[in-house]
C-alpha cells in the first residue's frame, strides 16, 4: 500500500507517494530528480549515497523512504545551494576530484563535519571518512582538501 511522505528537502517542503519498501535513494533520484546522490554498493558499505537527515549523515541506499516523513533531508544539491562550501572549494583546489562518483558522499560528510566540529585532527578526519570509498584518488588529496577546509574556517572564525 502506498503512503504519502512529507518532508523538507534542501530547504523546501515536498510530498511524495512511496511504496513501504521504497528506498530513499530511489525516491530522491527517480521521483525527485536529484541525481547527485549515487548508487554504488547498495548495502551501506561505500558512502556514495550519503545524505543528511536532521543534520546527521545517513546512507540513503539502506534507508526507507517512509522514514523521512516529517524530517529534514539535505543532499549534495542542497549543500551547495548558497555557493560552494569550503570543502567543495578545497576539493577543487587540491586536485581531489577525479571521476567524481564518490564525491557527493564526501561533500555531504564535509558539510556535516564542518557544522559538527570546530576543529579536527587528521586521525579523527580519517576515522570520520572511513565509510566513504574512493577508487580513483588514493585519498591523499581528499585528506589535504578536508584539512584545508577546516583551516580556512578556523581563520574566518
Amino acid at each position: 500500500m502506498k503512503r504519502v511522505v512529507r518532508f523538507k528537502l534542501n530547504g523546501e517542503y515536498v510530498e511524495a507517494e512511496v511504496e513501504p519498501n521504497e528506498l530513499l535513494i530511489n525516491l530522491l533520484r527517480d521521483k525527485l530528480h536529484l541525481t547527485g546522490t549515487k548508487y554504488v554498493c547498495g548495502i551501506g558499505e561505500c558512502g556514495a549515497c550519503t545524505v543528511l537527515i536532521d543534520g546527521k549523515p545517513v546512507l540513503s541506499c539502506i534507508t526507507l523512504a517512509v522514514d523521512v516523513n516529517g524530517k529534514e533531508v539535505v543532499t549534495v544539491e542542497g549543500v551547495s545551494k548558497d555557493g560552494l562550501t569550503p570543502v567543495q572549494e578545497a576539493l577543487m583546489e587540491e586536485g581531489a576530484i577525479q571521476c567524481g562518483y564518490c564525491l557527493p558522499g564526501f561533500v555531504v560528510m564535509g558539510e556535516y563535519l564542518l557544522k559538527e566540529r570546530m576543529e579536527v585532527s587528521e586521525e579523527e578526519l580519517r576515522e570520520a571518512l572511513r565509510g566513504n570509498l574512493c577508487r580513483c584518488t588514493g585519498y591523499v588529496n581528499i585528506v589535504k582538501a578536508f584539512k584545508k577546509a577546516f583551516e580556512k574556517r578556523g581563520l574566518k572564525s
Partner: protein
C-alpha cells in the same frame, strides 16, 4: 615540407620553451560540476519511458543448454520481451582477440554468471520477476577451475572447437639461454602466483539505448572506447556502424574493466531497444558487476634468472601462465604485454619467455590498469632482489648495473633510441628515501614489529603491443566568438585527459583561457581516437588535439603576420591576444583576428591525425619492435610487519616517474596516488574468492575489501624525470597505469626484507603472512 606537416608540428612543440599553460597545475574544467553533484553519468540520463533490462545468469560453471521456456515470464504483465541468442538479429559474437565469445550464451555456458537471456520490462521489479520465471534446462558438464590442470587435460574441453584448453601462446627468444646460464655465477629459480582483482569502479556498468534518435540508435553508456562499442553493438544488431551512435558521458571509473564490459552492456541495452522499439536501460547491481565482468588475470609464473659475479644479468627463462577463464577476451594482448615485459626494465642478453593463456570455467580475465604487467614485474623484481642477495650486492646498486638506458636493447631486441629516464628516476628516489641507510638499519629489527624497505621498478610500453596499428585523431574548430570546440573519442573516466590535458594543449597553442575551450569527449561523432586505455588518453589521444590546434595556430599566425606586417615566426598567442614577440605593441585581439579570418576565408577547423610509426615484430620468435617508447616507474615502499598478527602496514611510499613531459603535475600526482593505492589494495587485501564450482563467493563490498582512507600510507611528492618522447604531445608519454605496476613488487620486496624470507604469492593478508613466518622458521 608543409607547415601543417604533423611531424614538423610535433617537433616544434616538443622543443618549445616557456610554456604558459602546459606543465602547470591548472584546475580541470569538470571539477566544479563534479563538486556540486551536477556531473551527469549514464544512470542520470534515465528516461521515464525507458524499459528495464535484467539478465538471466548461468548457475553452472559448465553446462549444455538444452532448452528455454520463456512463456511464464512473458505472461507476467509488464514483461515486454525475453531475449535469448536466437533473437539476435546480427551476429552473436563479441570475442575481442579470438572469435570464442557470444553476447548471450549459445549452446553452452562456461562460467557461473554467464549471461543466458535478457528480460525487458516496464519497471525494475517486473524485470526481476521475469528473470525468476525464465526456465532454462541445462545438462551439467564436468568443469575445470585450475589452469595448470586445464592446460594438461583434453578430456574436458571448454571450447571444443579449439581442441585444447590453451587459448593462446606467446614466445620471446633472444640469444641462447643455456649459454647465459653457463656464464652465470648465481642462479635463482622460483614460482610466483598472483590472483584475480576486481576493478570496483564506483559506477556500476550501465547503458541506456534510445531508438530513433537522429534516425539511428543512440546508446548512452559507460564505456572506454565509443567507436569499438558502436562497432560491437552494430554487429550484434546487424546494422551499419553509422546507424549506431555512442555517447559516453562522465564515467565513474573504468580502470580497463569498462573497455571490455562497456561494449557488451551497450549491445545488450541496444538489443532490447531494437527489439521492443522503446528506450531500454540496463544497469548492473554491484553483485552482478563482480560476478560477470572480466577481472585482472590470476597468474602462475615460473622464473629462472642468472647473473655473473660482476653484477650483470646473463639470462632469464620464464614461463607465464594466465588463468584466462571462460573466454579469451583481451587475454592474448594481455599475455603479449606480460611476455615482452618479462625481463623488467633491464638489459638481458639471453632470454626465453613462454606464455600460455588457459581457459578455465571461471569469470574471464580482462583489461585492468597494468594489463598483465603488475604480475610479471612482481616476479621479475623478486628475482632481482634474490640475485642481488646471492651476489652480496645492494638491490638498487644491482639494478642500476643492469638498468635500461639510451642505446640499450630490450628482450625483443628493440633498440631504445631515446626517452629512457628510468636510471635517473631510480637513483633519485633511492636518495630521497634514504634507501641505503634504511636498508641496513631495518635488517637489524628483531622485535614484534619489523620494518622493511623494498623497491619495485617497472616499464610499460606506450601504445599497442608489437606492430599493431595505433593512431591519434581529433577535430578542433574555432567558433565565431573565438571560443573553441574540440571533438575526441577519448572518454573522461576520472583521469582528466579531455578535461585537463586536452584543454591545456589547446589553451597553450591558441593563447586563450581554458574556460573558452570545450572538449566534446566520448562520442562516435568525433573521429575514431582509439580506446581510452593503455595510458594513452592524454598522451596518444593528445597528439591529434595538438596537431589540429597547431595547424589552426599556423594559419592564424600567418594571417596575423600579414595584418601586423611582421614575420609569422615572431607571432605570439597569449591571454586572448596575438602579437609580435619583438614589439608587443603590435597586436590584434584574438576575437578580432577570428573575425578577420572569417572575412578573409581562412579555414577555422582542422583535424589532427597521426599514425604512430612502428617497426616489424616477428610473432614466432617474439623479436622486433614492441613499442614506440616506454614509460618507467619506480616505487620504494617502507613497511612494518607485526609478526604476531601478520598485519602489514605500508607506512611510506616514494614514487618516481619517467613519462616524458608532465602536462599537469597536480593531475599526474592524482594518477600516481590513485594507482599506488589500487596496487596496494591488490598487494595486501583484495582477493576474489571462488567456491568449488567457480562461483565468486564475495561479490559485494562487504566481503571484497578495497582500501579505505585509513589504509593508505604517506605518499611522498613524486619525482619526475621528463625524458621527452618525440611523438608525444610536448613529449608526454603515458601515466595512468604506471604507479600500479611496480606496487605489488615494491610491497612484496619490503615485506620480504622485513621478514628475511621471500614472498612468492599475493595478497599479503595476515593469514598468508603468518603462514610465511611459520614456514620460514
Amino acid at each position: 615540407m608543409s607547415v601543417e606537416d604533423p611531424y614538423a608540428l610535433l617537433d616544434k612543440w616538443l622543443n618549445a620553451q616557456e610554456l604558459l599553460v602546459v606543465g602547470k597545475d591548472v584546475t580541470r574544467v569538470d571539477a566544479f560540476q563534479k563538486a556540486v553533484g551536477k556531473a551527469y553519468f549514464t544512470e542520470d540520463y534515465l528516461l521515464k519511458e525507458a524499459l528495464f533490462v535484467k539478465q538471466v545468469l548461468s548457475p553452472y560453471p559448465h553446462a549444455r543448454i538444452l532448452s528455454y521456456d520463456v512463456r511464464k515470464a512473458l505472461d507476467i504483465p509488464g514483461v515486454k520481451a525475453v531475449i535469448t541468442a536466437k533473437d539476435i538479429p546480427g551476429v552473436n559474437q563479441v570475442g575481442y582477440a579470438l572469435p570464442d565469445q557470444p553476447l548471450l550464451a549459445e549452446g553452452k555456458v562456461r562460467y557461473v554468471g554467464e549471461v543466458v537471456a535478457l528480460v525487458v520490462a516496464e519497471d525494475y521489479d517486473t524485470a526481476f520477476k521475469g528473470v525468476e520465471s525464465v526456465e532454462v534446462k541445462y545438462e551439467e558438464l564436468p568443469y575445470l577451475l585450475d589452469p595448470l590442470e586445464a592446460m594438461n587435460r583434453n578430456d574436458i574441453l571448454i571450447h571444443e572447437e579449439i581442441g585444447s584448453n590453451i587459448a593462446f601462446k606467446t614466445k620471446v627468444v633472444k640469444g641462447d639461454v643455456n649459454e647465459g646460464f653457463a656464464k652465470s655465477d648465481v642462479i635463482v629459480e622460483n614460482e610466483y602466483r598472483t590472483h584475480h582483482q576486481d576493478h570496483i569502479y564506483l559506477e556500476p556498468e550501465a547503458a541506456l539505448a534510445i531508438p530513433d534518435m537522429e534516425g539511428r540508435i543512440t546508446i548512452i553508456c559507460s564505456t572506454q572506447y565509443p567507436h569499438l562499442t558502436r562497432d560491437i553493438a552494430s554487429k550484434v544488431l546487424g546494422l551499419p556502424s553509422s546507424y549506431v551512435k555512442i555517447i559516453t558521458p562522465y564515467v565513474g571509473g573504468g580502470f580497463g574493466g569498462k573497455d571490455d564490459e562497456g561494449p557488451l552492456v551497450a549491445a545488450k541495452a541496444a538489443l532490447a531497444a531494437y527489439l521492443t522499439g522503446r528506450p531500454s536501460f540496463l544497469m548492473y547491481s554491484r553483485e552482478e558487476s563482480i560476478a560477470i565482468h572480466p577481472k585482472r588475470e590470476a597468474t602462475v609464473i615460473k622464473y629462472k634468472s642468472g647473473a655473473s659475479k660482476d653484477g650483470r644479468l646473463q639470462a632469464i627463462d620464464v614461463k607465464i601462465i594466465h588463468d584466462t577463464g571462460a573466454y579469451a577476451n583481451r587475454g592474448p594482448f594481455i599475455l603479449w604485454r606480460a611476455t615482452v615485459h618479462a625481463s623488467g626494465p633491464y638489459e638481458v642478453p639471453n632470454a626465453r619467455v613462454e606464455g600460455f593463456a588457459v581457459y578455465t570455467n571461471k569469470v574471464y580475465q580482462g583489461s585492468f590498469r597494468g594489463f598483465g604487467n603488475p604480475g610479471i614485474q612482481f616476479a621479475a623484481e623478486s628475482q632481482m632482489d634474490l640475485l642481488a642477495e646471492k651476489l652480496g650486492l645492494d638491490p638498487i646498486d644491482f639494478r642500476l648495473k643492469n638498468i635500461l638506458k639510451e642505446g640499450s636493447t630490450t628482450i625483443t631486441s628493440q633498440k631504445l633510441d631515446h626517452s629512457v629516464g628510468v636510471g635517473e628516476a631510480l637513483r633519485k628516489v633511492a636518495e630521497a628515501s634514504d634507501w641505503w641507510r634504511k636498508r641496513r638499519e631495518y635488517s637489524l629489527d628483531t622485535g614484534r614489529f619489523r620494518r622493511g624497505i623494498g623497491v619495485g621498478v617497472a616499464w610499460h610500453g606506450i601504445s599497442t603491443s608489437r606492430g599493431v596499428p595505433d593512431w591519434s585523431n581529433a577535430y578542433v574548430k574555432i567558433e565565431k566568438d573565438g571560443s573553441v570546440t574540440a571533438y575526441t573519442g577519448i572518454v573522461e573516466m576520472g583521469q582528466g585527459a579531455p578535461t585537463s590535458a586536452h584543454v591545456q594543449i589547446i589553451s597553450e597553442l591558441l593563447g586563450i583561457p581554458p574556460t573558452k575551450v570545450k572538449v566534446i569527449f566520448g562520442t562516435t561523432d568525433a573521429p575514431d581516437t582509439g580506446a581510452t586505455h593503455a595510458s594513452r588518453g592524454s598522451s596518444i589521444g593528445g597528439i591529434g588535439v595538438l596537431i589540429a590546434a597547431a595547424k589552426l595556430r599556423e594559419r592564424l599566425a600567418k594571417l596575423a603576420s600579414e595584418i601586423l606586417n611582421v614575420t609569422p615566426e615572431e607571432i605570439m598567442f597569449k591571454d586572448g591576444r596575438v602579437y609580435s614577440k619583438k614589439d608587443p605593441n603590435l597586436y590584434i585581439e584574438w576575437k578580432d583576428l577570428i573575425k578577420e579570418a572569417i572575412s578573409k576565408g581562412v579555414e577555422l577547423s582542422a583535424t589532427g591525425y597521426f599514425f604512430l610509426p612502428k617497426g616489424k615484430f616477428d610473432d614466432v620468435r617474439g623479436q622486433g619492435f614492441a613499442y614506440p617508447a616506454f614509460s618507467y616507474m619506480v616505487v620504494i615502499s617502507e613497511v612494518e610487519v607485526d609478526v604476531e598478527t601478520g598485519v602489514v602496514k605500508v607506512l611510506k611510499v616514494w614514487p618516481a616517474l619517467a613519462a616524458g613531459r608532465i602536462l599537469n603535475p597536480q593531475q599526474v600526482e592524482g594518477q600516481l596516488e590513485g594507482a599506488a593505492v589500487q596496487g596496494l589494495g591488490y598487494a595486501l587485501m583484495e582477493n576474489l574468492v571462488f567456491d568449488g564450482k567457480g562461483r565468486v563467493v564475495n561479490p559485494d563490498l562487504t566481503d571484497y575489501v578495497i582500501p579505505t582512507i585509513r589504509d593508505v600510507p604517506e605518499i611522498q611528492k613524486p619525482i619526475y624525470v621528463e625524458d621527452l618522447f618525440k611523438y608525444g604531445p610536448f613529449g608526454a608519454k603515458g601515466v595512468g597505469e604506471l604507479a600500479l605496476i611496480p606496487m605489488p613488487a615494491s610491497v612484496a620486496n619490503a615485506v620480504s626484507h622485513a621478514l628475511k624470507t621471500r614472498v612468492t604469492s599475493l595478497p599479503l593478508t595476515p593469514e598468508r603472512v603468518l603462514e610465511l613466518i611459520r614456514s620460514s622458521r
